[in-house]
Symmetry: none
DNA sequence: TGTCAAAAGTTGTATAACAGATAATGGAGG
DNA sequence: CCTCCATTATCTGTTATACAACTTTTGACA
């Protein structure tokens, strides 16, 4: 590791402190000055990390008092699934199944020519990014978003944006997800997306929904086999 | 309004800039120094806001170049409404169809005894409110929320809350919603809800989903015949 | 022992400065 | 006029310092 900005290291470092020191909810963590001393960086960078941790709901800062643990960072992902609460990853796929499959159907039925153009442009971008740089997490999302946009339903789009925002936040607080995929998975991903786009192009609603469900099921398998 | 720390206001202010200036994905937003000038605060506070925005995946900072829009913040429905064909009311029902029907199915399959109790309590509240005061918009929502809660899927719940928040805001800003319903409609609403709750009780997933779809289709008809 | 004001510690905010990277500018040469 | 390239301007990343606002601890005094 040891990559990225100093604030990133501080972010990871503080989470590690919470875990290794076994700080319970409500416990106070070292002061910003002390953390800066520990990590050998400036207080400014420690603050940036703490601001992000607070935004993630993991810590809470009280002026004059200190920063406190608000929620333990969820380490268990995948195998350790609690009985009551599904993991964010699993949960997000459940929602995406219903939301995006229906979005694909509506997009196929209602898409305008401009929206179809936007979808195909997003597809081109994804193709380019996948073969060159690899993961292309962002381009992937943008294609899905273009499809949701083509539903002409503002509530769909709003929910889509919200979901991705939330899930990204939760995942960032947990373990990393951006592992590199094998080359054959990249080819499969491209084909799956192309099937969706093609179905929308020929305005085949059922086909688009089906292709989207298939794509998501494969994606889930790729993420947690 | 105008609450909280300066960084919070900057966070909201930058999102507002993205929305009102209609900055597309990839567009550059004003420099940190310029933003500090605009908001009348220090660059330090602007940076804290930008760090959070970046952590939320909304912006992306490139050293030497500036900060750029990476993903549009979850939309306030009002701003892009004119671009969209569907009304928020119509659109929300489309989303509720897929989201809540599936939630009812999952709730039927996974609900714990405690969650079943919560659902039945919400049902009792709704029944009481409907026969006495009339509309019972809030009790209705709480029953639906209890069902979503029983899916044990935090992402489902998050999307449900978000959708209702957004749609409520739009409707409050717009025209009527709380018109009085005829008495036979009240009886029908009660029966529909009871069918959903009963299906969840006997853990009939398909039945719950079907009952939910039927209820929502009736509700839409009642709202806009 | 109990009260309470002073002190010490901590977060919130501002300012200045510089390093490291990118974008814009403006000539020199075709 | 256009292209190439070095210079300059601009922007983010990071550090240091200082003070304001608030909370907790300390310690003296009653």
């Amino acid at each position: 590791m040891q990559e990225g900005r100093l604030a990133d290291r501080a972010y990871a470092g503080i989470i590690e402190i919470i875990n290794t020191e076994d700080l319970e909810i409500g416990n106070r963590l070292p002061s910003e000055a002390r953390l800066a001393e520990i990590f050998g960086i400036s207080r400014t960078m420690v603050r940036e990390a703490l601001v992000r941790l607070a935004a993630d709901g993991i810590t809470e800062a009280r002026r004059g008092a200190g920063s406190f643990v608000k929620r333990r960072p969820s380490m268990r992902l995948g195998s350790h699934m609690q009985m009551m609460d599904l993991s964010a990853t699993m949960g997000s796929y459940e929602v995406r199944f219903v939301l995006e499959a229906e979005a694909a159907r509506l997009a196929a039925m209602r898409r305008s020519v401009e929206q179809m153009g936007a979808i195909q442009r997003a597809m081109t971008n994804l193709r380019k990014a996948l073969v060159s740089t690899g993961p292309a997490h962002n381009e992937d999302m943008l294609l899905h978003r273009a499809i949701v946009l083509a539903t002409a339903n503002p509530v769909f789009l709003s929910c889509f944006d919200h979901m991705h925002e939330e899930v990204d936040r939760i995942m960032r607080a947990g373990v990393d997800i951006s592992r590199s995929r094998p080359p054959e998975a990249i080819g499969a991903m491209l084909t799956e997306h192309e099937m969706i786009v093609e179905a929308i192009k020929v305005q085949d609603g059922d086909g688009a929904a089906l292709a989207m469900r298939w794509h998501l099921s494969q994606g889930r398998k790729r993420l947690m086999p």
